[in-house]
Amino acid sequence: MRHWVEVRRGAYRDSVTLMRVSRLVSARDGVDGAMAAMGTPLNAGVLERMGFTVPDGAGAGDLVVAIRAEDDDALEGAREALEGLLREEARAPEGGGLLGAPPAPRTMASAAARGDAGVALLSVPGPHVFPEAMDALDAGLNVMIFSDNVPPTQEIALKEAAARRGLIVMGPDCGTASVGGVGLGFANAVRPGPVGIVAASGTGAQQLMCLLDAAGAGVSHVLGVGGRDLSARVSGRSALSALAALDADPGTGLIVLVSKPPAPQVADLIREAARRLDTPVLFALPVPGEDDLTRTAEKALTALGLKVPEWPRWPAERRPAPRRGTALRGLFAGGTLCDEAEVIAREALGWDLEARGHAFTDFGADAYTRGRAHPMIDPTLRLEALAGAAADPATGVLLVDVVLGFGAEDDPAAALAPVLAAALRDRSELAAVVSLCGTPADPQDRDRQAAALRDAGADVFASNAQAARHAARLAGAAGRDGAGHAEEAP
């Protein structure tokens, strides 16, 4: 038998708590007797009768803890259990207990203290992000910062603080993440699978998620890093953490990094880090000469030994007759989708797009979102611009994206389809192409959205690259011969 008795001066606990602790420790396997009690003469007597020797000088204000166990292991286990029970932090009762719910938490730290959270999602105005984000990190939470307008020095300070704690800061200006199937910010409902995504581009990540889902491959996690992470200043701090975390994740068999072109020295850093991982890494950088997002998805499928499918498309029955000299107008909500479409259009229609009257606009860019919601939440501004472009006789082809998923508006086709239908009804020579980024499981139901947009007269594509090529072909055909409908090459 092993005995252990200790006196803790001035460590008051009420008797009910101590009796509970004593009972729980006594009930452990290998424990022959245990008692934690204030050192009153009465309790000292009980301890003596239990066979413990109470040290001299233990008074009523001192806590006496005593354990007898059959061997060292049992004693050690019982001591740990006792410490844990004594230390046990009482939490506010669920729902606030008998006197009602506690008031809502006012800081990240106090919210974190109420539950076992793993991640904080911040969308307060940029100048106010830093205290909350630092608080969340101090509370042991990973942080996703949806907000923009966070100074780069603060971004770096937060990412360094996260690294010291073994955590990640996703963002600032991070629109999309998906962790264990849960979408944070704008994210699609995708099936679970082996592909992990590191994203400095929100809609780029969403396009990959949706294509991989359509191909039956699925996604493990999407870790956003923010649009500035791969800049020379921020130097990929979060991308490196994200790569390492996905590499260590047993559910991830392949990693895709999607980003606008990184600063050259950062690109080298990332590629070097990627080479050292056990998990293969593909890069999706929508620039001329690099793979587009669809091609990257196809490479990922091939690397996983999966078949590349026909990407979903919903062609309209309508056959417009474009006029010579008309232009392609791309009106996008997703920045990366816009960039990708523009690169493809330049390759198809010539590098001097603007000189030929073609135009691409990203309504998610800061200039359009200052003081108002993103077009994926509030479509008003883009719909107005779309009606304007449709009425412009110089416009021959409209190319728009529709991004579905959590966080996006409830039924985008409900507002967009009538605008498109009216435009196409008024101008028989006008063509409309929709890049539809979504999955059948999204709350908006991709297939219902696709049908509504197709019925309005638009050709609808799940692949943004295919949509862009199709639109460019329509515009190019108009530019070349001024007549006829260009069939999509098989």
Partner: protein, 472 residues
């Protein structure tokens, strides 16, 4: 997690069902709720304009969180013991003509009615003046000196005036080694600390110096170091919050000291009986010991560079002042507010003096208003029903750094009291510390007119934040 074990990447983020804390646009929290993810939504509000840079500087300073953790750990691990009772001239080295007072530094010209009254009374007690007008003339002339109790490791309730002949409780922190002092409680009604200085006030103070002080000294010395935190912890579970209600704590203290007092051969029987009768007839007798205990705990947390922990909240009847761990002995002051409360007899708010006293040291150390949920009996007295008291304590968790490991509130499932006011959290949330307080009459000589709740002026926390930002 122990040493050699590898920590899971990102705190295990990728390995378990996420639970999310959100602040900001509701649509993002809604989207999570639609995915059946547990969400804790923060009721976030922007901090005052112009504080963004200072908040970022303080919170972004490397080691800030560690500094606060260290400071508050020192605060809650302090083990204040009552070790002696001695005259102020001995323990504080107070010379004739030197006084201490509550709150941040003050000049006679700006002193409030009760502060003037208490100083007048102290002049009379010390024999430095024959009459109140004579005392006032001498005080106005600058014939005596007075400085904050806090500058001498002491605290004083209400006006907090300490003069050389007053007896002080001597409290030592057995954990960190500090020493703190507080005068003896005079009881209620017309008393010096509320600014009364009539003959009965002076007579009582003289008796306290001749009889009560020596009797307590004998009892405490015979008893040996008396663990005040243990009494406070027990009293809290018996319905005291240790600022406006000290009934249980007073009883527990007397239970500890009475046998030693009865056995003290150097104290005549009738004097021992007088002392016990006086203490037992005053529910606030423990307050001063509790204040000294709180002062010891707060002082243990002083001087941690970079820490935004508040280590003193004190009022002198004119100004409300705070001191912060990371900014040394500097005071940040603003106008003291008039408490919101209930009034005695036919007194009303027009009779009330602005907030006064060092007793907010109890709130500084996680008692008083911060422990309102533990004291249902005083809730109506200080503003409302039991749920209001619970709400007040719960609100304080938003601005504090820890929960007190020893001071636990039965009504909150034995959660520890909120302890360690953090300047950055006060600024960020706009939530001000809730302080239980007595209300002194505005006119010198009146005494107590009521009791209630008061808040500090918000600007002093912003000032402290900016000052701390310059140090990091």
């Amino acid at each position: 997690m122990t040493g050699g074990e590898a920590r899971p990447p990102l705190g295990g983020l990728l390995a378990r069902e996420p639970r999310v804390v959100t602040a900001g646009v509701e649509v993002l929290a809604d989207a999570l709720a639609r995915q059946a993810v547990p969400v804790e939504a923060v009721d976030w509000r922007p901090p005052p304009p112009g504080t963004e840079a200072a908040l970022a500087a303080v919170l972004g300073a490397p080691g800030h969180a560690e500094a606060n953790a260290r400071a508050v750990e020192r605060m809650v691990t302090a083990r204040p013991h009552l070790v002696d009772v001695r005259p102020a001239r001995e323990v504080l080295g107070l010379e004739p003509g030197a006084f201490l007072h509550a709150g941040p530094p003050l000049e006679w010209e700006r002193a409030s009615g009760p502060m003037r009254g208490a100083l007048i009374g102290a002049m009379l007690l010390e024999g430095l003046a024959e009459t109140p007008p004579g005392a006032e003339r001498e005080l106005a002339r600058g014939g005596v000196t007075f400085e904050p109790c806090h500058h001498h490791g002491a605290v004083g309730p209400m006006a907090g005036v300490v003069s050389p002949s007053m007896w002080m409780l001597v409290v030592e922190d057995a954990e960190h080694g500090g020493t703190s002092y507080c005068s003896l409680n005079e009881g209620l009604g017309k008393v010096l600390r509320y600014g009364a200085y009539g003959p009965e006030v002076i007579a009582r103070l003289a008796w306290m110096g001749e009889v009560l002080g020596p009797a307590l000294r004998a009892a405490v010395r015979a008893h040996g170091p008396l663990d005040l935190l243990s009494i406070i912890a027990q009293a809290l579970q018996m319905g005291d919050e240790l600022h406006n209600r000290n009934r249980a704590a007073t009883s527990l203290l007397l239970r500890e000291l009475a046998p030693d007092l009865a056995a003290a051969s150097e104290v005549p029987r009738e004097r021992a009986a007088e002392a016990l009768r006086f203490a037992a007839g005053n529910d606030h007798f423990f307050l001063n010991a509790g204040m000294a205990a709180a002062k010891a705990a707060a002082d243990a947390a002083r001087g941690v560079p970079g820490s935004s922990l508040v280590v003193a909240m004190a009022r002198n009847g004119t100004d409300f002042g705070i001191q912060v761990s990371g900014t040394g002995d500097r005071w940040f002051t603003g106008p003291a507010g008039v408490p919101d409360g209930l009034y005695l007899g036919d007194h009303g708010p027009a009779d009330a003096n602005p907030d006064i006293g060092d007793s907010a040291i109890t709130e500084t150390a996680g008692m008083g208003g911060f422990a309102l949920a533990a004291a249902p009996a005083i809730v109506r007295f200080v503003g409302g029903e039991v749920p209001d008291a619970v709400a007040a304590t719960q609100r304080m968790y938003e601005i504090t750094l820890a929960e007190h490991p020893a001071l636990r509130i039965p009504l909150l499932s034995f959660r520890g009291t909120p302890v360690g006011v953090d300047v950055t959290r006060v600024v960020r949330t706009g939530i001000l510390p809730v302080i239980d307080t007595g209300i002194a009459g505005r006119e010198a000589g009146t005494g107590q007119v009521g009791a209630g709740l008061v808040e500090p002026p918000g600007g002093i926390f912003t000032d402290a934040l900016h000052a701390l930002a310059e140090t990091v």
